[in-house]
């Protein structure tokens, strides 16, 4: 998936994460987390896995995590990537259907 613009998903509420995706070269990932000491590695692995699943090769990704569970993190990364790639909240956007159950898990 190609990141065409800047987009964000998620909030800074407790147990959520705010993920920002911008165009970049390769994957540049920065993570800030309230639970970084105990879950930093797991957060990074989850974000990288999700990007790989979405076939994002080039993007600058910023995660501000407030103790989100893995499922929340995945959803926020997916949301930000699809928005940055030109999809909107609508099921069909620019003639393309969001891949629910496919790339979006």
């Amino acid at each position: 998936m190609e990141v065409k613009g800047t987009a964000m998903a998620g909030t800074l509420e407790s147990s959520d994460a705010q993920v920002t995706v911008e165009p970049g070269t390769g994957i540049e990932l920065s993570i800030e987390s309230s639970v970084i000491n105990q879950y930093g590695k797991k957060i990074r692995a989850t974000v990288l896995e999700t990007l790989e699943r979405l076939e994002v090769k080039d993007a600058k990704v910023t995660v501000v995590d407030k103790g989100a569970l893995d499922c929340t993190l995945k959803a926020r990364v997916e949301g930000a990537v699809f928005r940055a790639s030109g999809y909107s909240e609508d099921v069909i956007c620019a003639g393309k259907k969001l891949p629910w159950g496919g790339a979006i898990q």
Binding site: V35, N37, Q38, Y39, G40, K41, K66, G67, A68, L69
Partner: protein
């Protein structure tokens, strides 16, 4: 050296402090010791006035100098002005190497952090610290070790002479010209002065600081004139809005209400729940909800509580007024209802911190507890609790009476939601041990209840009770299945804090925090 809760205490810390490692919650039973004593200046001449115009002047009269230990109490909680007021003057005078021995320190004392950085303050001994002082200690800015003591442990340390206080500064809501202090009747009422009594009795110099000077004699006094060298009147000793808040609204959080209900059901099914039982609880949402639901059952069954102990909040006062509690015995007031109650209700008594929880006197009130209901940041599979250091390794809480009441009570119940955000409360190893698992009997979470296997009698008492009993390992596994197994926090090598057991031994150490790095 490995101690009785399995923590490795570095030799260097043992050498630096001369302390022993923790050997068990009751290891010092029957030991004898000689009490420490202050150096007293007799006030024989009746013409001598104790009134002094300013903090600066009283510091000079007390002979403040480099390296002294000074003390404070925390009855004004987050509304305290006294610590900052005194430290600011000491700082202006250019005094260095001060050790603060406080009953506790909070966010209100953030302004002393620059004094830690510039060497004015080199030692901190407290029940705990929050806010920026905690950050300063955890990032290695304090020159000496921070020592965290329980409320009972602090009195013990003073009475055994582990710490000698040169000057005690005691904020008093009301005081007369000869030093009789009370905690009610002024504009910054805090209800009781329990934590400050040991300071008054064992410090060489004792200074009363008040904003409400009242006619002599100010009786009944929490702290008597016979211990007081000087009295200073200032404009304000605290912010009443932050000293005591209105009664907290009962929680509407269904998770807390459920845990409270589990707690009440557990309590009433133990053999200790009978007329005249003794009880202490906290001020968290679940604790307060359980006090309310327990009250209903006491009323239905005609069972009265003989003694309600501890830090007191509104719901316990309400049970006292309804005649469901015979006597409330108080060391700290958490809200306006409690302050009013201790001032007016003859069955609501003020006691000293030594009477409350000192393990080395001839028997503290905590020893007579049937139940204590506590909270905890973390509980591990050995039932060890951590209430001082957060899961990121930062010092952020206080021991309070946690280890004292746990050691004293016949049935120690810890209520903790299984998860706080992503952080599991039930884990394999707590970050830092503050309360040893041998003194913790039951852990109640929203996912189930675990009874310590050491308490086969309680397991037996509950065998027909319909509550979701699980092993502590099962609770941990549920937590990890949801949030993943946490990596152990990586610390630096330097020890910055000592968690002192209530008997004066080393329970655990806190190391310098290390900035997180992805490898």
């Amino acid at each position: 050296m490995i101690n009785a809760v399995g923590r490795d205490i570095p030799e260097k810390v043992l050498q630096d402090t001369g302390m022993q490692v923790f050997q068990g919650a009751y290891a010092r039973h029957n030991q004898t010791y000689k009490k420490a004593a202050p150096t007293v200046r007799g006030i024989v001449d009746p013409k001598e006035s104790k009134m002094v115009d300013s903090i600066a002047e009283v510091l000079k009269k007390c002979g403040i100098k480099d390296g002294m230990t000074i003390s404070f109490h925390h009855h004004f909680r987050e509304g305290d002005y006294v610590v900052n007021m005194v430290m600011e003057e000491i700082h202006k005078m250019g005094i260095k190497d001060i050790t603060i021995c406080a009953s506790s320190l909070g966010k209100a004392h953030n302004p002393i952090v620059p004094m830690i950085e510039d060497g004015t303050i080199v030692g901190i001994q407290s029940s705990g610290v929050r806010g920026k002082i905690g950050e300063a200690i955890s990032t290695g800015k304090l020159k000496g070790y921070a020592i965290m003591r329980s409320h009972g442990g602090r009195v013990r340390a003073i009475e055994e002479g582990d710490v000698h206080i040169d000057i005690a500064f005691i904020g008093a809501p009301t005081c007369d010209c000869y030093g009789n202090m009370r905690a009610v009747g002024g504009k910054s009422d805090c209800g009781v002065l329990s934590y400050a009594v040991a300071d008054a009795m064992y410090a060489d110099k004792v200074v009363a600081i008040t904003d409400t000077l009242v006619p002599y004699p100010n009786l009944p006094a929490s702290i008597s004139q016979v211990y007081v060298d000087y009295v200073v009147k200032v404009d304000e000793i605290g912010n009443p809005a932050k000293i005591a808040t209105g009664a907290a609204k009962p929680t509407t959080d269904v998770r807390k209400i459920m845990m409270a209900e589990y707690c009440t059901q557990f309590v009433i099914n133990t053999p200790y729940f009978k007329d005249g039982f003794t009880y202490q609880t906290g001020v968290g949402g679940a604790s307060i909800a359980s006090t309310i639901s327990l009250g209903k059952i006491m009323k239905e069954r005609g069972i009265k509580m003989g003694l309600g102990l501890g830090g007191i909040a509104g719901p316990m006062c309400k049970l006292l007024e309804e005649g469901l509690i015979e006597k409330l015995v108080d060391t700290q007031d958490f809200d306006l209802t409690a302050i009013e109650s201790v001032a007016k209700n003859p069955n609501h008594y003020e006691i000293t911190a030594s009477e409350y929880a000192n393990p080395m006197n001839k028997g503290a009130y905590v020893n007579q507890l049937d139940f204590v209901i506590l909270a905890s940041l973390e509980v591990d599979v050995n039932f060890n609790c951590n209430v001082v250091v957060d899961s990121n390794g930062m010092i952020t809480g206080a021991q309070g009476g946690h280890p004292d009441t746990a050691a004293g009570a016949k049935c120690t119940i810890v209520i903790a939601p299984l998860l706080q955000g992503r952080t599991p409360a039930i884990c394999t190893n707590v970050t830092t041990v503050t309360t040893p698992g041998e003194t913790v009997d039951v852990v109640i979470t929203d996912y189930g209840i675990a009874i310590n296997p050491r308490r086969q009698d309680l397991i037996e008492a509950m065998k027909d009770v319909k509550l979701p009993f699980k092993t502590i390992e099962e609770l941990r596994d549920i937590a990890y299945s949801i949030v993943g197994e946490p990596d152990p926090v990586e610390f630096g090598d330097r020890v910055v804090g000592i968690i002192e057991g209530r008997d004066g031994t080393i329970m655990d150490v806190v190391r310098e925090i290390k900035p997180y790095e992805f490898d």
